[in-house]
Symmetry: C2
Subunit: 407 residues, 2 copies
């Protein structure tokens, strides 16, 4: 008998019919003899519907109240799924964040789970019940309702799996698993059978939207095997697991693309200590997350400084930088929202030299200019003109994955 | 400085615009210097929408899960109202049943409030905050979510007012107050300035839908003055208050009409001990509430037994009675779903004889046949053919209220 945590996303519970289908899958899993804890997202579209109500009322709706509002979405789908499972004759109960209880910090809208008191869920499982938990939500120390941010139900599921020492956390979604790249861009994209936590983390932070980054961090920390799979077909999906010896024989596991960033360059800034801090402190105080930063000192004692921010924060960041520009005597600002960050990811890079060089060659052959470069031990990202992004993904996938090319 | 509990019904918070209007009213009350606790219902239509989702999934959806589902409706309106009040610049927080905390028994769908821990609300008021509480919901001892039944937000509001020793509980609704009868039926219906708890209780249980019965019981028990008034116009509404000396100078305060019952008669039942119990035990076990019961023994040792049940339970009750009929050797069953119960209510009846006789005269003059009669100290109800119900209301209103007729 295994203990399995299953998470179903918004599309999987998007209609009454689909909720009934999910109930059948849950019942079938239980019938095989496993203990089942199900985590659900809000019905597709519901979170946006609720948010737009709040925004109709106020331009900047109170964050605490938005969390109370949004948490109702998962409450509805958890109750409906429990109704559907019970209708199939199984013993089942739904639980909300405050009932489990899932305790978080008080950062409304992006709260982090601090602890889970799993005793109530354990007791329910012991009584032979299927447990349905509302994803995405928790309560802080003072019992205020909090939410975990977009994709937060993934994190609820992995955190529950960790707290319960579950054998696996199955993430049911509308795709068949984790792909080597976006199949909509590249026809030869393949479903991965297995991928390491570190690779999945890099994929999530470079544009793959399949799992919330925080859920992968938690899975890595607590060694929870994640199985990403389709709610609509029965086939195995992708296992996200600890790295093992065989994995580094693959040089590049995936190619990702992120078009949600914009680039800002400060020209000819006098190269003095404290410069970066003057530029980035106001941006960070405005809660804008800066991704890549590049600085090249030139011989005339000035430097060009370039960084990327989320497109959604682009205008806000520009306004802040414009204020700073005169204070630091920069010559000007260049900005470009039409960029894409294309990345190749693979733990095999650790033990192979020349991967970056080959990536630059492949792009150069297509006449694609590289505007920024950023690397980690298992990832190389380049920023290019947005219009070349699909082409770049295809040629990199062809060179590194289809042809398994070594440098 | 007074402490006022204000309750806004589903129509009053039915749209984003109306929520903004309610926020303005709340802010205006706060601005006058009062401490304000607001109780809200779900947005109009939401409870039905959620229930129909559950019924699409299951013919008899689990009651515990229905309460989890329905409680989300008040969660949404409480959060949205708090967003709107905050947007006007006031300090405000929403609280759900489990946060206040409002503890109930475990009778899902019709739970009764057992206790309210008002310390959190008191603290918030002390901090100068406006408090918004989700109506209709509570939690049982084990923190399972419960709901209080249709109109339950009235009861939430009165219970909170009692727990906080509030100076008044204002029930904002889509009518201007409590009327002497339904203005849609009788053009001379007048808004009552004041009415006693007992009269309001009789009105609520004979067809007036303005307040949940349980809320009036609580108000009476804890001496909470209720002010029923319109959310859309500023005028005073109706105060529901303890009975005072002047009230019994009015013979009849109101005429009510209830068309939601059906009548079932068992013919020529052998008149033996244990008869009623044999008939009513299966009905009560099916959770069907029987309202009036009349039994007339005749000289041949048989008796006709007539009772009324909610129209919604009529068929279920008939099926149960048909089973019983042969067992108790009754001659047959007559059933009539086309009845109306028309009642006159007034504390003045206590000290005046002949009110019933006059009521029967008034109806008889119009050729209206009386099928059943039931009386209390301050109420007389008659069951008549449904088609005469409006006529009966009008002539009774004319005789007893417009003409202030004494017998």
């Amino acid at each position: 008998m295994s203990l399995i945590v299953q998470k179903y996303g918004g599309t999987s519970v998007g209609t009454v019919e689909r909720i009934r289908e999910v109930a059948k899958k849950v019942a079938a899993s239980r019938e095989r003899g496993d203990e089942i804890v199900v985590v659900v997202s809000a019905m597709a579209g519901e979170t946006n519907r609720l948010l737009s109500l709040a925004h109709e009322i106020s331009q900047s709706p109170d964050e605490r109240e938005c969390d109370v509002l949004l948490a109702s979405g998962e409450q509805v789908s958890a109750a409906l799924l429990a109704v559907a499972v019970r209708d199939l004759g199984w013993s089942v109960r739904s639980y909300l964040g405050h009932q489990v209880r899932i305790e978080t910090d008080s950062a409304y809208g992006k709260a982090r789970i601090k602890s889970i008191d799993s005793s109530r869920v354990r007791q329910a499982l012991k009584n032979g019940e299927i447990v349905v938990v509302a994803g995405f939500q928790g309560v802080d120390e003072e019992n205020n309702i909090t939410t975990l941010g977009r994709g937060g139900s993934d994190t609820s599921a992995v955190a529950l799996a960790a707290a319960l020492s579950a054998d696996a956390c199955e993430i049911y979604t509308d795709v068949e698993g984790v792909f080597t790249t976006d199949p909509n861009i590249c026809a030869t994209a393949k479903k991965l059978e297995r991928i390491s936590y570190d690779e999945m983390l890099e994929m999530a932070s470079t544009g793959a939207k399949v799992l919330q980054i925080r859920s992968v961090e938690l899975a890595k920390k607590f060694n929870v095997p994640i199985h990403v799979r389709s709610s609509f077909i029965g086939a195995e999906g992708t296992w996200v697991v600890p790295e093992d010896a065989g994995m580094d024989s693959v040089l590049v596991s995936a190619v990702t693309c992120d078009k949600d960033e914009a680039k800002i360059t400060l020209l000819k800034v006098p190269d003095q200590p404290g410069l970066a801090s003057q530029i980035f402190t106001p941006i960070s105080e405005a809660n804008i997350v800066v991704d890549m930063i590049i600085q090249n000192a030139s011989e005339d004692g000035t430097t060009d400084l370039t960084f990327t921010v989320p497109k959604a924060d682009y205008k806000k960041a520009m306004a802040l930088v414009e204020k700073t520009t005169s204070a630091i005597h920069a010559k000007g600002i260049q900005a470009d929202p039409h960029i894409a960050k294309v990345s190749i990811i693979g733990v095999g890079m650790r033990s192979h030299a020349g991967v970056a060089a080959k990536m630059f060659q492949v792009l150069s052959r297509e006449g694609i200019n590289i505007e920024m470069i950023s690397t980690s031990e298992i990832k190389i990202s380049v920023v290019i003109d947005e219009k070349y992004s699909e082409l770049a993904v295809r040629v990199l996938h062809d060179a590194f994955i289809d042809k398994k090319g070594l440098p």
